[in-house]
Symmetry: D2
Subunit: 287 residues, 4 copies
């Protein structure tokens, strides 16, 4: 879920409410806040806490709320997880620390220790493009021996790696979630547990349907829905910036024109350009 903002310092609470109702009505199986698409690391801590509290209150147990814990400081990560528990989140999604380049040993040490300081169930969040380090397959293997770890989200877009994780998680049935929505269908076809598609903010029903048809092995239907995903990807995520920037400003722009929430992005990211905005408006009008 994106984080609706009025400005650098203020949540768009009305937008948050509308977005959450839009998602739940769209049939999502859970809500993941404060991840990469949620601009988690860009928000000051008090705003993050306010968002967790608001979302947990608004969702009120209708679906699980997962909270991203992405930071450079161990102590602040632990504190964020404690707050998530207090406000009623279902689980935290733990990424590697985001500053230093670290070895697998250091990554294991940090994550293992952090999980011990946390009481909530944990998803591991692999996102090497932004955190610089990838959870090695052996590191994952050791970490998931801890029953507190109940799932994995992989945003590496590396299907060879994903296939190796699938082999690790198949015996236990632990859900292995796909980050990039362009790969959601195929990941579910080969046994993946679902996805965390950014485009689901604007079009939750579409992604819920893709998941359902891929899981049921309805190949033709899944492929045809996948073509719609590729159209969204080409339109909403276009632009000259880097990946996350293009994705987040595209989603927020679409949500604004769907009359759901404000399109402000926290520093350092920037709104969609006027040309992109026009393209998205036309796309929405034609949908």
């Amino acid at each position: 879920m994106v984080t609706p903002l009025l400005d650098e310092d203020t949540l768009d609470l009305k937008g948050c409410e509308k977005l959450l109702e839009h998602l739940i009505k769209g049939g999502v199986h859970g809500v993941f806040i404060l991840g990469t698409t949620g601009e988690g690391p860009s928000l000051k801590q008090s705003l993050q806490l306010e968002l967790i509290q608001f979302v947990c209150g608004q969702v009120a147990g209708r679906v699980p709320v997962l909270v991203g814990v992405m930071g450079a400081s161990f102590k602040e990560a632990a504190r964020m997880a404690a707050s998530a528990e207090e406000y009623g989140a279902y689980a935290v999604v733990v990424a590697p620390p985001i500053f230093y380049q670290i070895s697998q040993d250091e990554l294991y040490g940090f994550t293992n220790q952090l999980i011990r300081e946390i009481s909530l169930p944990v998803y591991l969040y692999n996102n090497p493009g932004l955190t610089k380090v990838s959870f090695g397959v052996e590191t994952i293997e050791k970490l998931i021996r801890n029953p507190q770890v109940i799932g994995i989200k992989d945003s590496s877009a590396d299907m060879s790696y994903y296939n190796r994780l699938l082999e690790l998680t198949r015996p236990s049935g632990m859900p292995l979630l796909m980050g990039p929505e362009e790969l959601l269908m195929e990941s579910v076809l080969i046994g993946g547990g679902g996805g965390v598609p950014g485009g689901g903010n604007a079009f939750p029903e579409l992604f819920v349907k893709i998941y359902g048809s891929a899981k049921a092995g309805k190949l033709e239907e899944a492929l045809s829905l996948q073509r719609e995903v590729m159209k969204i990807s080409r339109t909403l995520y276009s632009g000259s910036g880097y990946g996350s920037s293009n994705v987040i400003n595209g989603i927020k722009c679409a949500l604004k024109h769907l009359d759901i929430c404000n399109d402000y992005l926290a520093q350092p990211l920037q709104k969609a350009s006027p040309e992109k905005e026009k393209k998205i408006r036309q796309f929405l009008a034609a949908s």
Copy 2:
């Protein structure tokens, strides 16, 4: 300056005091805290604030105190800078935001806006290995038009880039500081304004001398001192981990055996291995 720690949550204040006196006695021209070597991003904010306050108090104006501002959140960066001012720091050293991959436009937008929210003088801190984005030469050119920007620290280890920055800063004489200490001598020889050598925590006099001899054009003397730097580099910074990890745990290990401060490293980094510790002890004994 490294940050002496007793554990994840506690400054080694006695160690901070001894380290600061060691540095000032060694002749340093300033103290830079909460940078990469200072594990700034790993420390929770309240600990960062405590350190700033302590250091400014202990230094008491004898040399300028520069405070690293490295984070993912604009609002927290601004707040940290405001606190640095309040406690009496001389300047802040501003790095790009550390999470998203961003364009030069986004980098300029973030940094320019941040400088406006700050009253202290600003150094720009280029460290693309860790922040993913390098301040482009054109971006630097635009930013240093603002008289509030009074210097640059470049830790890219890219001398071609450094040479291009030198051309930009030569007319005004703005100091261009070198990050990696192995390149300090040559950067000063070609017109650089000094350095921020991590090894200076343990051996401040050596680096002060290198700076002096290079600045005075005493080539032979500078080259001979440089050989000592290379020995330190080979011994203290060896190891199988990544750069920052090896550097910081080597410095802290040496400081411990110089009886200056504790060698605890904040998560995710780890202490020097026993083999490395032994090597460093022998090196110090032989010095």
Copy 3:
């Protein structure tokens, strides 16, 4: 197809013959020689020509023979393609030039011009990990307007990119072949035209079956065969070297123990280690 060698300078012709018969008996739909797995760039030109001639003669039209054209020199690439035609190859598989980092403009210029100098049908060969440059989607779009281009082989292992190429090739039905065998099944499930699996050298039937079951939409069967692929991948391609090295020495080692051909690798690659050889022998014995 790997290139069976007796030493740096000599083809293992007996091994070539046995390997080709093994492949054809295994049901392969074509043979691709002198690609990355075929150590094309490591072989001197006269040896490459000898191999093309031998393979075309031995195959004798039973399946199409595709010849990799991977080099740094335009003129030599053109000459290799002319020889491939003369010896009766079905098509050439053209990679970007392998030395300089080049722009999409330069890549388009080189490839477009090369195709003009070639009479055979052309596959485009994307392998950015080794050629440094990826065929951009727009570059592919322009190049495939030329009817001489009849297919694409993508070894990027980037499924997001692959999905975008699928959209380009869907209207015409142009085959889009998958490089990494771990991704063969899923690429065919979503509409891909097949694969060029290195492991097919040793186990051609397995990969022919995977292709068939995925193409027929038999999901359960495909997934179960895919598990065998992952076992091969874990065993044959293990090792401490880089990807290509591990893959090629694993395949050649298995072929040696299947009594098909010699396991010599051309410089700079090296044979499987004794430990790896033992592991592969045990794997084959248990199969």
Copy 4:
């Protein structure tokens, strides 16, 4: 030295002659052909041989001729070295094989074996941006034990690495040559043995002077000449392409306007754009 070409297949022999006389008159201490700037890998072998023969004949022993050996095939590298010897070259400059990603073990094996097949003295040529692998410091240490290795050319632009090599070569006085001309002055100041500056094709005297003043420790003079180098760099090597492309087309464009040789570049590189050509013409007119 760049390779003057009339077209893809034809040397500009008149240009070669004029360029060589221009260089020798400019005071160069040697001529390095068929390196990266010489477009070695782009030329078919017969053209490479023709160039070696022509250059050795024209130079006629006035300065040493060094021949780059850069390819993917061991046997062809060995053959090129043998031809270089036959035509009277002074040494060969051996780069890692240019296709596969390889380990230090594989790199050592390839290079060590290649040196054994060569009778000429050898320079090692480090150019990791293009060959993907860097000669590790330990690998260099082992290779230079062989007295046939008489020098190193480092084009990594990594001064920390260069400093470590300097320590290895200082005891024997083995020349350690700098690739990027922007770093020539400082490398000589700290003990380097000279450089292989591409810009020396057009302005040989300037670079000979820089070398001389840096070697003599005349810091002020060296710095002032260095400023001219930076001007050349900014003008001749500007452009939107990648490094080598911009450098080579800039040099050839300048040589054309200095009336020395043709500005044709072998595929895949392309001539300077008309805008760049105009800029260079103005620069030359003002010099």
